[in-house]
Subunit: 568 residues, 2 copies
């Protein structure tokens, strides 16, 4: 076992665990390679199992030789307090936990040790292959093809092995374009709208201060538009930032060389700005001394709601271009790994009803985030509780959480249009930071191939899509809505997401109860419908028999007009 | 017709009406004594009917001789824009509407002209008489009696004709106490908790700087507590304000003369402070230029959320005293007409599950607000859109709306524990400002008796409690909860009420749809259950007949074990 040397102590008695909304647990602490376990000594034992990878930071306060208190601040935003007796035990537990949470060699993580106790019906690793996701598009038209130029992840390390590109651009041209785009991220198709306007994403063009050009890049973007059509480049950086990016070898599409593309800057905060915002938000929430004024002032100062607004705003703009102007859109920032993916995926949720189903939303996360190369391992290595001086600038960021929050804002406004409920989003938030499943491991498909995630770990989708599990995430109010949904982005219509940010501070049980009631009514509805069908059949059988025997005439059997059973 | 002289113009063609979330309506304006009506000239005519009493303020902008634009800012928070052609017509319409909205002689208002088109089944005017509301309490014990000392509204103009007071205090003593309490509001019983601790309310004692006393008042409050028990006076003013009230002839209960009562100050904003807060809130909401930062800053500065927090906080404190300490509580501020009623009624919602039913909530509003003498006519004469220099200090105030908002906050946290949904609260908000019903007319029961509201107008409850109307206000998620419910008052768990404040700015239709879906499922559930019962009966009849005729043996009829039908 690789962890033996890290585990200085594997068992510690008489610890006191303080958890939100629960009675203090007086029990035994066990530390395994992947879990921290606290079990009570009661007759009905209570237990806490916590993955080490869920721990964002360990804060210790020693009290002389008597022991001390550990605060485990988790990536699911929970804060646990552990009182440990004895200075030696306290030090050993603290050191062990600190070391175990620092393990970031992915193949040492729990997904490589976890074995599911159920039969996998549909393998999540093969459920969303680009070939099947884009099959209709690639097979139906003359415009788009699947390219395997990146099959060994060398042209673009953050891209998947298969992508959709314009048919008339060959792989050699793609290689040339990859050399001209940040991180090799040449423009690829994210979504084609019914108007046949398309949504593309990429990294920034490396125009440099010398105004470098790439004919192949210009040709690709010109081809995409078609004759006489105009498109939009949505740059999620400020104009200044795009300008100054040239000095660092980056740049933007000049209107001179991309004459049919109009550039629009819609800045969205990323990286350290975003995680600082998140840290401030959680500081405010965890400060239970705040009055209303102080809280609202902190909420304003942390800018989290503003980040939501700007991101949604940009996604709405993209959706408008596609749906109302029928114009194609290319989205990028510098790397195309964060705000770019937020915007392209949110635009699809607005435009495409498929993305509001469970399967469609899973596919969206696969396409845009996992195959799209969002570096989950780096971004989620540290979260909001890690002090900013222990974070690496440009590495850690809650981009995916901000995306989920934006989805939740849309969901709050259009609760009937989503097949899943908010618990599905919360589950994704949790698993993206710490999980027994391999889905969110590594930084891109290439890394997951190297670590053999597909062969050696279970996919989150394999678990989630089992009917008995999926059931709990379904939205009882779902009514498929084929229309484009336009969320309000007025600042007052955006609200803090209590079920994620407040759940450990304010007990959400009464709110959860409402959800359960609706689910129960819906389930009873289904159950009673099938009971009606059974009774109907029984009645018909009896009727037939009675009529056949001449005991009852047809008129007695059906005394009134037949009552239609509207079982939808 | 009394309005003839006010109506300078009764019809005006070619007006353009701009309403929130609706297409512009091009049509004819008609002005009657009580309504402004705009009808389109389309084949499928669209119409707006607006009670003049709903108009808070009329703002006009004339455009030379061509006409002008009127902004009608309504008490239901809607803002309507009316474009009128011709300077003469514009002036006449404007003057007419301004005059008609100023009519405040209650018997000229619409409730005295409105005739319901349906048969009143249960007269709302007699549905909540104190004798029946308090019958169990008065009949069962030796401690409380019904007093009619105020039967002609002379002892206390703002009190009803019947009240519950301690049995050992006679009517002469009540008169003496009334002389010692602001507005004659001697302490009366609002609620007796199951612990038999009681909630009382009153006006401030008129102790004056001379330290005036009233033996009868001291005796009443001492009697209420019982031997060896302590109680709390919750004063909803700051300590300073209570102190300085002495100089104006008011005061507070000194611990010297009320030795078993502990005084606690929980200040809650009232009157002009509260309406200014409301005005700032709505200014912020109607300013569509706000970014997120500006909006959050305005939300903080307006203090509306803080008002909610402080009011709920105080209600929770009262509920804690009663439920957890078993201690009686007397609540008052100066007059006992605003924050006092908010607190006593919210405490009952927290403590008493009956108040969370439709009938119980109506009874609560009758007892605490209508019979309790909240001056609806004065308070709701003007609302947030009237400029502060046109408001009378201490007269206009959204106290009742703040109460409804607090109820909504509790409802949001315990959605299953209320028999009614938020639409019921919104309906009460609207009718309390402007209505065809007489329930909220005048400032107290005495005024309603003088204007013969009971004989000459219809009660809101007579309308609302008809099954076909009530139906739309019921909460499909209701599951009776007999427990005390403790709302979180952490600042981050309180949220702006979109369905009231935002509905004219941000279309709430998608949110309303979710509600409809749940209602539909619930209704289908009921329908299908009764269908099951019918089918069962049919089946049983057929079985009996078949068995009686010896055609089918019992074992064929019941092939399996009987399937119980759990129809709750």
């Amino acid at each position: 076992m690789e962890f033996a040397e890290l585990i200085r102590i594997s068992r510690c008695d008489r610890v006191m665990l303080h958890q939100p909304h629960k009675a203090v647990l007086d029990g035994t602490l066990c530390i395994t390679g992947h879990h921290l376990i606290v079990s009570s000594r009661d007759e009905e034992p209570q237990e806490l199992w916590l993955l080490h990878s869920n721990i964002d930071t360990v804060e210790r306060r020693q009290q002389g030789m008597t022991g001390g208190t550990l605060w485990l601040k988790c990536k699911d935003l929970r804060i646990l307090q552990l009182d440990i007796i004895g200075a030696d035990q306290f030090a050993k537990v603290s050191d062990t936990l600190e070391d175990l949470t620092r393990v970031d060699e992915p193949t040492l993580l729990y997904p490589f040790f976890y074995r599911p106790m159920y039969t996998v019906l549909e393998d999540g690793w093969t459920a969303f292959l680009p070939e099947s996701e884009f099959s209709r598009l690639v097979q139906s038209g003359d415009d788009w093809r699947m390219s395997y130029v990146n099959k060994d992840y060398k042209v673009c390390p953050s891209y998947p092995s298969a992508m959709v590109v314009p048919k008339s651009i060959d792989d050699n041209e793609l290689v040339a374009i990859a050399n001209f785009r940040q991180g090799g991220r040449f423009p690829v198709l994210a979504y084609r709208h019914e108007s046949s306007a398309v949504l593309l994403r990429s990294g920034q063009p490396l125009t440099t201060p010398n105004g470098k050009r790439c004919k192949e890049d210009e040709r690709l973007l010109s081809l995409v538009l078609g004759r006489g059509k105009r498109g939009y480049v949505i740059d999620t950086r400020t104009q200044n930032l795009s300008q100054s990016a040239k000095l660092r070898g980056g740049g933007y599409e000049s209107e001179l060389h991309y004459p049919n593309w109009r550039r629009v800057h819609k800045p969205i905060d990323r990286h350290h700005v975003l995680i600082d915002s998140f840290t401030k938000l959680m500081d405010g929430i965890n400060d239970n001394s705040s009055g209303m004024d102080k809280w609202l002032s902190r909420l304003e100062n942390c800018s989290w709601m503003n980040n939501i607004k700007e991101t949604l705003n940009c996604a709405c703009l993209v959706a408008q271009c596609l749906d109302q102007e029928g114009a194609s859109v290319l989205v990028h920032d510098t790397d195309g790994l964060d705000s770019t993916l937020q915007v392209t995926s949110l635009a699809q949720i607005i435009l495409n009803p498929d993305c509001r189903t469970v399967r469609g939303f899973e596919a969206l996360i696969e396409r845009e985030w996992l195959q799209g190369g969002h570096p989950f391992a780096l971004r989620h290595q540290k979260s909001c509780y890690t002090p900013s001086n222990q974070r690496t600038k440009g590495t850690h960021s809650p981009s995916f959480l901000l995306f989920l929050d934006c989805v939740h804002q849309i969901y709050s406004q259009f609760s009937c249009s989503f097949e899943f409920g908010e618990s599905f989003l919360i589950m994704l938030f949790e698993h993206s930071y710490s999980s027994q499943f391999g889905t969110f491991l590594g930084n891109n498909e290439g890394e997951r191939v190297v670590m053999k995630a597909r062969e050696r770990t279970t996919s989150l989708w394999s678990y989630v899509n089992r009917p008995e599990i999926l059931h709990q995430f379904l939205n009882p109010m779902y009514e498929p809505n084929q229309r484009v949904i336009w969320p309000s982005v007025a600042p007052m219509s955006l609200q803090l997401w209590p079920a994620v940010y407040l759940r450990w501070v304010v007990d959400q049980a009464p709110q959860d109860a409402a959800w359960s009631v609706v689910k129960e009514i819906k389930e009873r509805d289904s159950a009673i419908r099938s009971r009606v069908s059974r009774l109907r059949r029984q009645l018909q059988d009896l009727e037939k028999e009675a009529v056949a025997n001449g005991i009852i005439s047809q008129s007695i059997v059906n005394p009134g007009s037949p009552e239609p059973l509207e079982v939808a």
